[in-house]
Every structure is written in C-alpha cells, then in structure tokens.
C-alpha cells in the first residue's frame, strides 16, 4: 500500500496568503485545493509538494466568510477556486480568472451547500 508522508497544518484564514507565499518561495507545487462540508462549516485543504511528501494547509470557514484567492501566487489556482465557489457557494476574492459562477453550472446551484432533494418516481409513473 502507498504510504506517502502527508502532514496537515491548520492555519487561520488571515494567515493563508502569507503561508502560501512561503510554500511558493520554497519551490512547492500546488497539488490541489479541495473543500469538505462539515455541519455548519467548511474545511479547505491547500495541498503542496516538492517530491512525494505532501503538506496540506487547512483553513476552516463558515457561510458568508470571504476567502482570499491564492491565484496571485499560484496562477493556476483559479480553476480550484472557481470550482469551490460553484459547488459550495463560498466567496473567493481576487481570483485572476473569475468565471462568476459559470465554470461548473449544476442543475441545483451550489449542490454541496444546498443538498438537492431526491424524489423517487412511483412505480408505473412517468420517469
């Protein structure tokens, strides 16, 4: 089984840009940005690596919080930040490419924030 070293470091949102800048200066690659909804809050992981040892910066935010974009430091981060905005409805400020909610247009807007209601079609009913 793959056993890669992966360290998770929890930081405050206010420290995000400063810490990401340090990772960039040290030559880290941005691996991904991913969001996890947990009850009334959201965890966002910013994963970096230089080789096969990974480090994730973790911030916790709530609805209405503003998250500063790291696309000024890692240019390609816009794709992850737009995804987070479109699926979770979180506000990311200062993105270098802002799709204004049109990167991923789901039938139910922000499905991870507003879970879609699933209704079963009764037997013999029209699908």
């Amino acid at each position: 089984m793959i056993e890669q070293k992966h360290t998770i470091i929890e930081i405050a949102v206010t420290d995000l840009l400063k810490t990401v800048e340090e990772y960039h200066t040290k030559g880290n690659r941005l691996v991904q940005i991913g969001c996890t909804p947990l009850g009334d809050c959201y965890e966002i992981n910013y994963t970096f690596t230089t080789a096969w040892e990974f480090e994730s910066l973790r911030i916790t935010v709530h609805d209405g919080d503003e998250i500063p974009s790291i696309s000024g430091i890692y240019w390609g981060a816009f794709i992850y930040e737009n995804e987070i905005h479109d699926l979770f409805g979180l506000t990311v400020t200062g993105m270098n490419v802002d799709f204004q909610g049109h990167l991923i247009e789901t039938r139910v807007p922000t499905p991870f924030k507003n879970p879609p209601t699933v209704t079963k079609v009764p037997k013999g009913g029209d699908a």
Binding site: M1, I2, H6, V31, Q32, T36, F54, G76, I79, P111
Partner: protein
C-alpha cells in the same frame, strides 16, 4: 497591436475529443489568450458517495472515467484501505499493478491513434488502434470487461489471474512488442509527425511546475514526476523509472506516451516474473473512520482521491482531483501565441478527459 476578435471554440467541435469550451482571443490567425470553460458534463459523482455504501462505491469510482477506470477504483480503494488499516495481500497488489499498466497501454494507444488522426496520418491512427485492441483482448480475457473491469474491491481484487494465463499474457506482449516499437519509430522519426508537432505548444519546465502540470504533460517538459516512483501497489518492487523528455512541445508529450507503452510492457513482464503466491483479498470488517489523500499515476497523470469518513457506511466526503483538471492552466499557457489551426493539436496533447475532470 492588430484588431482582436474572440473566437468561441467548442464545447462541440469536430476536432475536439472532449466537451471543453475555449474563448480564443485572436489577433489575425494568432491566439493571444485562451479562456477555458468546463461544466458541460458534470455528473455529481462525488455527491453520490453520501448515498452509497463505501464498498459499493468502488464501482461508481471506477465509472468516473472510461479509460482510467481501473486506476480510479484502485486509488479509491487505497484511500479506504489506508483509513481502515487493511493490508492488501501482495498478489492482489501485483495483479492490480498489471491491470493498471494494461490501462495505461490501452489509454496511450488510444491517444496515439487520436494524435495521428489529428495530423491526418490515417495509417498510423489505424495501426495504433489495432494494437490497442490486442491489449483490450487481454483485459477482457482476465476481467471480463474491455472498458470497465469491476475487478478491484476494498481489501484486494475480485478475480485472480491463474499463473498459466499470466504466462500467456507475457507471450502475447512479446509478440506485439516489435509492432509497438515500429509504431514508436514512426512517432519518433517520421517527418510528418515532427513537422506537425516539434516546437508547437511549448511549456517550459518552470511553467510546468509553477502551473501544476502532471503526467506526460509535466514529463514532456522535463519534470521527473511520476507517482509510480513513490512505490505504491507493486511499483516499489519493479524497478520503475519515469520516461522524461525535455523540449516541452507537442512532440515530446507524444513521445512520452509512446515510450511509456513499452515501459508498461516491461513492468508487466517484471510483475509476472515476480508474482507472489497467496490470497487475493483481505477481509474487511467495520466502517472507515478517518481521512486520507491517496495518489496514483493514471495514464493522464497524477490523480488524487481524498476520502473523509466518520465510521458510518456512507462517506462524508470524496474529493477527486484528476490530471485533466490540473492540466487546464498549463493548457492555457501552451495556447498563447500559437496559430488557430494548431489549437486542436495542442489541446489534444494534454489528453483531455473532461468527464474525469468534472466527476
């Protein structure tokens, strides 16, 4: 500066293999800027994990993509197995590795055929796809599926491959190896291929790293970056070495893939030679509780499955970061400054799988 116009390109276009939309800002025939848009095939598979038992979800994870399907299921299983502390038996790890390399071979041969077709090289296209069929035949013979295998499960694999059949597979690969080498020689030396691809869509090593490029896109730009180097599944015992080229252009991204097909043949042969005996699965008891980021090297590059579980049969969060998703910013860089007629070839060289990217 000349007049600028915006040419909408895709999502449905005869020369695009996947539904990606590009707003191409043009000055005459030259692309000044490309703004990508995805979102046309979003399926909500990550959301579905909240409704499915974590064991059954392997089959859904496998359906994220029709080409990297087996590797998706193994990566998801790796995440769950790590959270639950399950030791997968060595034989299962070796057989998983063999099937992952078969997936790489058929994916790369499919792509090489598409690349040849994009260049108008029909004969090479047919030849690559004919060889791909040979690989798919062995996939079908050992798993029952040509596209979706359904052979991986949490704790191991569903089906063993008898030693006799493993020997037949190696014999088959020995027979088609000269044909693969001949195909590689054409991609490496043919003037048509070189003329169409050399110096086109250049991505420097620094840009590849800074923009997060992965897989053959990164390795074609000189980045020695392949998750298999970390030794997951059985790779640690097979003496794996990444294939790296340095020009960073379309041709080198193509050559990485054509060389990797032969490297996969070597890996399968070594895996069969070292195949251990023993069980093919470990019993799974209870539910996962914890989190893990599992990484694998799919044919298109580094893939990540993040799983967060809370001890119940449904998982809290399943996040998949696919190679295409992370290769989109590098694609934007590659498109700057090229001519309109070259856009389809450059887009093709990241081997886009938008179905993968959107889950």
């Amino acid at each position: 500066m000349g007049n600028q116009i915006v040419v909408p390109f895709g999502p449905q276009h005869p020369v695009l293999p996947e539904p990606i939309h590009l707003d191409l800002v043009m000055e005459d025939e030259r692309v000044v800027e490309a703004v990508p848009t995805i979102g046309y095939v979003h399926r909500g598979l990550e959301k579905l994990v909240e409704k499915r038992d974590f064991k059954d979800y392997v089959l859904i994870a496998e359906r994220i993509c029709g080409i990297c399907s087996f590797t998706h299921s193994v990566t998801y299983c790796n995440a769950i197995e790590h959270i639950m502390g399950i030791e997968v038996p060595p034989r299962a790890q070796f057989i998983r590795t063999i099937w992952m390399e078969y997936s790489r071979m058929h994916s790369h041969l499919l792509w090489l055929g598409l690349a040849a077709d994009a260049m108008g090289f029909e004969n090479l296209f047919m030849n690559a796809w004919r060889l791909r069929e040979e690989i798919l035949d062995d996939m079908e013979a050992t798993t029952g599926g040509r596209v979706i295998q359904g052979s991986s499960k949490v704790g191991g694999i569903r089906l063993d491959i008898p030693d006799e059949k493993l020997g037949e597979m190696v014999d088959h690969l020995k027979k088609i190896r000269p044909l693969l080498e001949e195909s590689n020689r054409i991609f490496t030396h043919d003037q048509t291929v070189r003329h169409r691809m050399r110096g086109l869509g250049v991505l420097s090593e620094k840009d590849a790293w800074d923009l997060g490029a992965v897989g053959p896109v990164a390795r074609g730009s000189g980045c020695d970056m392949d998750v298999r180097s970390s030794g997951y599944s059985a790779y640690g015992e097979l003496g794996f070495k990444p294939v790296v080229f340095t020009h960073g252009d379309c041709l080198d991204r193509c050559l990485v893939r054509s060389e990797e097909v032969l490297a996969s043949v070597d890996l399968v042969e070594r895996a069969v030679a070292k195949m251990p005996d023993g069980p093919i699965e470990e019993k799974v008891k209870g539910n996962p509780n914890g989190e893990y980021f599992a990484f694998s090297e799919q044919p298109r590059g580094e893939c990540m499955h993040y799983v967060r579980a809370n001890g119940k049969k449904n998982i809290v969060r399943h996040r998949v970061r696919t190679p295409t998703f992370t290769n989109i910013p590098p694609l934007v860089k590659m498109l700057e400054g090229i001519e309109m007629a070259d856009v389809p070839v450059v887009v093709l060289t990241i081997d886009p799988c938008i179905g993968c990217a959107e889950r």
